[in-house]
């Protein structure tokens, strides 16, 4: 039963980044859909938009935003919403998403945009702010959106919900879909010391419209190792295992391979896409049995 937030086919796609765009237009790989970062196409004109039109002729699109700052105490920026709306109207993506995070400081504190997906405290107030802002987002573009569970590196004092309940409650109150990132679950669980399976088990699976898999790295810090969600390598085995467990709950659902730093040749990316597709096929067989 596909969630209303996404009309993506239940197959594996990949995050299309600039170094691969011309190659993908020239020789389209055998995938049904690709995902792009919405903010990378917020140009008035020029070649990038024309390239996206060529991509759109061959693939369905998922628009993944990194800049709306849905977790900001302020309401979403109206100009930013207009830019998203105009891209959505022009390219008719099969899914639109952003993150459970904040990017921009409060206007009262200068309004700096920090270009990082910043963490929220697991409080009722943060749930209410996210639900309000997702509602504004959905109204502005006239469709349901998905929000992605975060990668966490730190814990605030005064949390009122656990991390999984915070995500589940936000999705429920906002009335939106969930973009389930299983790599983020593994990274957060390792960094904050909770159980990844428990977290996964608390997700609202009926709301999942897309799954993300990606690689992460270990960073040495003076106080020990932290996992860094850098999308710069192949998917780790422990993340594939979480992915299989998620598929057992959701059934086959659109799955995206994300690779954003140290971007490899397209062939490497497509090998990871094939691994995801094999798992999707197995889940489909299990579902039919």
């Amino acid at each position: 039963m596909p969630a209303a937030c996404s009309s993506l086919p239940p197959t594996a796609g990949f995050g299309l980044r600039h170094p691969h765009v011309l190659q993908v237009i020239d020789r389209p790989p055998a995938v049904d859909w690709v995902e792009v970062h919405t903010e990378n196409y917020m140009y008035p004109g020029g070649p990038r938009l024309r390239q996206l039109e060529a991509v759109r002729e061959r693939f369905q699109l998922s628009f993944h935003g990194v800049g709306l700052s849905l977790g900001s105490v302020d309401e979403p920026d109206r100009d930013h919403l207009k830019r998203i709306r105009s891209l959505v109207d022009r390219f008719a993506p099969a899914a639109v998403s952003d993150h459970i995070a904040w990017v921009k400081a409060p206007a009262a504190a200068g309004g700096a945009s920090l270009n990082d997906l910043l963490p929220l405290p697991c409080t009722e107030e943060a749930v209410a702010v996210l639900a309000r802002n997702v509602g504004i987002f959905q109204d502005a573009i006239g469709r349901q959106v998905m929000i992605e569970n975060p990668s966490m590196y730190l814990e605030f004092t005064g949390g009122e919900l656990d991390h999984a309940a915070f995500v589940a409650e936000t999705v429920r109150r906002a009335g939106c879909g969930l973009l389930l990132d299983v790599n983020n679950i593994h990274v957060s669980a390792t960094n904050l010391g909770f159980d990844a399976d428990d977290y996964l088990g608390a997700m609202p699976f009926e709301a999942v419209g897309e799954i993300h898999v990606a690689g992460h790295t270990s960073r040495e810090t003076p106080s020990g190792v932290l996992l860094l969600d850098d999308h710069g390598s192949r998917v780790r085995d422990e993340v594939w295992r979480l992915y299989d467990r998620a598929l057992a709950k959701t059934g086959p659902v659109a799955t995206l391979m994300e690779w954003d730093t140290d971007i490899p040749q397209l062939e490497v990316l497509l090998e990871e896409v094939a691994s995801a597709q094999t798992r999707l096929d197995a889940a489909a067989v299990r579902g039919a049995a």
């Binding site: 920026d77 504190a109 920090l114 990082d116």
Partner: protein, 256 residues
């Protein structure tokens, strides 16, 4: 319990400034400082990459270490205000011009302005170019009154330094001597170009860009150089598709 507004204000101030403000809000496991540092790094490293891509000449001249210091200082003083970064860095040329440590490269601010114009031209609005035939149809008395706006991607820059030569070959920008240069940055179609201009050509295009009619622009060119070849220059920029076709030029073209 800290309000979300307070938390976000203090967190943001701690990312770009003194991190001690955020620490009381973080759970104390002895690692909170290292944890917060991940976010500081993300902000400064990702914005440095954005600036490096927009300012390749500046990055090549300064080298990694000094560019990183410039980028960090710029981010602290001019953090992005909007949540997409395709427009981030517009203040960097002036920031460089005011920077004392960079005073040994007095031309670097102008080179940065050229980088910025090239970056901005890439994503500027598309426009249909004016065809030479659109003008050929006009009677001479109407021609001198015609406005010829450049494409939306166009930027005209003038410097007391050979900025175009530096932009072409930043690795050879050592011991640079003052020599004025003017440049037209423009994107007809998909490719951004930076074309060096002689002073009369610059004066002519600058007048057109300011909205003055062709007759006045030609006079500006002649004032800069009595031998200004108006016909040759106009033909070259028409052939390059550098002028935008406007509703009025369209109509006039059709009447002819």
């Amino acid at each position: 319990m800290t309000s979300l507004a307070e938390l976000q204000s203090r967190f943001a101030a701690s990312v770009t400034g003194d991190p001690s403000g955020v620490m009381p809000m973080l759970a104390d496991d002895g690692r909170q400082s290292d944890r917060f540092e991940i976010h500081r790094n993300n902000t400064f490293a990702s914005l440095k990459s954005v600036l490096e891509e927009a300012f390749p000449t500046v990055a090549a001249v300064l080298g990694q270490e000094m560019f990183q210091r410039l980028s960090a200082a710029f981010v602290r003083n001019h953090p992005p205000r909007i949540n997409h970064l395709l427009d981030y860095g517009g203040e960097l040329p002036r920031f460089i011009g005011r920077s004392e440590p960079l005073a040994q490269w007095p031309w670097l601010g102008d080179a940065a302005a050229l980088d910025w114009a090239v970056n901005a031209a890439y994503g500027a609005a598309d426009a249909e170019p004016l065809a030479p035939d659109d003008l050929a149809a006009l009677p001479p008395e109407q021609l001198v009154e015609t406005q010829l706006p450049l494409l939306p991607s166009a930027a005209l820059l003038r410097s007391d330094w050979p900025v175009h030569a530096i932009w072409m070959n930043p690795g050879e920008a050592v011991d640079v001597r003052p020599r004025g240069e003017a440049v037209l940055v423009i994107r007809p179609g998909v490719e951004v170009m930076a074309l060096p201009l002689d002073p009369a050509e610059f004066a002519f295009l600058e007048a057109l860009a300011a909205g003055h009619p062709l007759g006045q622009a030609a006079a500006a060119g002649q004032a800069a150089d009595p031998g200004f070849d108006i016909q040759g220059v106009l033909a070259r920029h028409l052939a390059g598709g550098h002028f935008a076709r406007t509703p009025s030029s369209h109509k006039e073209g059709e009447q002819g």
